[in-house]
């Protein structure tokens, strides 16, 4: 789906009014994102995550190296709109991308700009809003939506481009825990049921336990890549990427230090719970199997 080959990106910074300088934000990034993958990108502020995301639908072009989207080089100006419709973007603050006066008009904006027939637009808008669960709200003003609903509207906007991939740049940063779950569930559904490739940028380690692949970035480099299991069992790597260790993983570590034989690499809360219960029942000597 997406192939990133050794890209470098530099921003111009001004040391003072007359001295120009360059800051390397992406320093030789290579990454393959196969079709229908759920890929999460983690890393501290300033590590280059958002800059990388902006290369995936040609908001930025690399200074060196190449990005291929479904075999098309993003530097190919003639194909710009093809690529943009393949890759949809959802940003941190939904207010930055919502422009319609009603929910349905907002979703129709993209297709209208592509000169799509109005009957087709109607069908498309209906399908997008139903998939994100906002069909009931189609006549409402986006300003009346909650944060989670706004983020789902942003996702519907992206879906209206009929993308094969959706890139989400910290979509949950402004949401409360319930709304966060709602948005994460939605993108997992789109990934599983429709095979849409997802690239999720986030600081929340608890949102990525179900991802296929996790990429850790730091200072413009990829410092680690693997399954959630591989990443979360590598404490040194997590520390280097300045990531939080999920509380249940930390608990496992502490129990092991205290000599309690909790197996390593437990990622989900369910698993941790059943492991502890198993140990507890064992020590009680009854050997009941509770899960």
């Amino acid at each position: 789906m997406i192939k990133i080959d050794n890209i470098v990106h530099k921003y111009t910074v001004w040391d003072d009014e007359n001295t120009k300088n360059e800051k390397v934000v992406l320093d030789g990034i290579s990454l393959d994102i196969p079709s229908s993958t759920f890929m999460a990108i983690l890393g501290p502020n300033g590590s280059g995550k958002s800059t990388l995301a902006k290369h995936l639908n040609v908001l930025l072009l690399p200074d060196e190296g190449t990005v291929w989207i479904d075999g098309i080089n993003t530097a190919d100006v003639d194909k710009l709109w093809d690529i943009r419709s393949q890759v949809g973007m959802v940003f941190q603050n939904p207010d930055n991308q919502i422009i319609g006066t009603s929910v349905e008009e907002d979703v129709a904006f993209g297709p209208e700009n592509k000169n799509m027939e109005s009957s087709k637009i109607r069908t498309l808008v209906e399908s997008c809003l139903k998939r994100v669960g906002l069909w009931q709200k189609r006549k409402e003003s986006p300003t009346r939506l909650s944060g989670g609903q706004k983020q789902r509207l942003g996702t519907a906007d992206a879906l209206a481009g009929v993308p094969k991939c959706i890139v989400m740049d910290e979509p949950t940063a402004m949401l409360d825990p319930e709304a966060r779950k709602e948005v994460i569930r939605l993108i997992h559904d789109l990934n599983k049921n429709e095979g849409i490739t997802i690239v999720l940028i986030t600081h929340h380690t608890d949102e990525v336990a179900d991802a296929d692949q996790i990429v850790l970035m730091k200072e413009g480099h990829i410092i680690g890549k693997g399954t959630p299991m591989e990443i979360f069992s590598n404490k040194e790597l997590l520390r280097a990427a300045k990531m939080d260790i999920p509380p249940r993983v930390e608990l496992g570590d502490k129990l092991r230090e205290a000599g309690i034989p909790v197996p390593e690499s437990i990622l989900t809360e369910e698993k941790m719970k059943s492991e502890i219960l198993r140990l507890y029942n064992e020590t009680k000597g009854k050997g009941e199997a509770t899960c």
């Binding site: 502020n45 941190q92 205290a258 000599g259 809360e269 502890i276 219960l277 507890y280 020590t283």
Partner: protein, 285 residues
């Protein structure tokens, strides 16, 4: 210090039916407090917080600051705004001065400090948030995200408040920068003896830093207690659409499955201690 009694508030909606956003809230902020204010979206947190420095006036009820009724005729709300500083979400979006120092001086100057006083106050606040002299004449736009947020907080600190209200101060920050901000808030609390009200959706942070938790639900103050007591009420909070720290959830479920833990843990350390004790004890029994 700041005390509210039976505060209610409705937005005046022309034509529409009046809807009470806050209902009969009584509260008190005392010296040395670090209060975590939690509640689901739409519970009235932001509306409530705007009452604390008089940005909104309660429809009924009274608020007193050091015994003085702030709604009384002749009470200068500008005085209260000096005492209660509000730091909104993404405060760095409000930076506009041409230099870091000028931006930080803006608030105190508006409150009537002389240029010298304002500069002194700005400098000491910038020092407290860890922004040193070399940044004084830089444009705020050249700073990193975390630094910008620190400068924005310094701008409020420079007004020398006694109470500082922060709405989601770590939103959008990576774990390390977040820790830096919370470390800063704790230093503000102790070094300047400022009471803190932290509005947050992140229960881990509330459990770790607050010594008192307010739970707002549907415009009502449902709980006002220690973090341990509040987060122990997992089911009640769940009904209100409020989560608990992940470790609290886990230990709570273990209890429900029959493990005799004394209570749900609010930190990983606490959970590890309780579980180790129990799993070892079982082995010896």
């Amino acid at each position: 210090m700041l005390k509210g009694e039976n505060i209610s508030f409705s937005y005046n909606q022309a034509g529409a039916e009046e809807k009470a956003v806050l209902k009969n809230i009584s509260f008190e902020i005392r010296e040395g407090d670090f209060i975590g204010l939690i509640g689901s979206s739409g519970s009235g947190k932001t509306t409530f917080v705007k009452h604390l420095n008089g940005l909104l006036k309660a429809t009924s009820g009274t608020i007193t600051y050091n015994g003085q009724n702030i709604y009384e005729k002749g009470y200068k709300l500008s005085n209260l705004r000096k005492e209660v500083g509000l730091v909104f979400q993404y405060p760095e979006h409000q930076l506009f001065g041409s230099t870091v120092l000028k931006d930080t001086m803006y608030g105190p100057r508006n409150l009537g400090m002389t240029d010298e006083e304002a500069e002194e106050s700005a400098k000491s606040s910038l020092k407290l948030v860890g922004v040193d002299e070399s940044y004084y004449y830089a444009s705020p736009m050249e700073l990193s995200g975390g630094q910008k947020r620190c400068v924005a907080i310094a701008g409020v600190l420079a007004m020398k408040p006694k109470i500082l209200v922060l709405d989601e101060p770590a939103a959008g920050l990576d774990p390390e920068t977040k820790f830096m901000i919370f470390d800063l808030i704790r230093r503000i609390q102790t070094e300047r003896n400022i009471a803190i009200v932290l509005v947050s959706h992140h229960m881990e942070d509330v459990a770790q830093f607050a010594n008192r938790v307010w739970v707002l639900h549907d415009g009502t103050l449902k709980m006002d207690d220690t973090p341990a007591n509040v987060f122990a009420k997992v089911d009640q909070l769940d009904e209100m659409g409020i989560g608990v720290p992940q470790i609290t959830q886990l230990t709570y479920e273990l209890m429900k499955s029959g493990m005799p833990l004394p209570h749900a843990a609010i930190s990983v350390d606490e959970a590890a201690k309780m579980l180790t004790h129990l799993l070892r004890k079982g082995a010896n029994a």
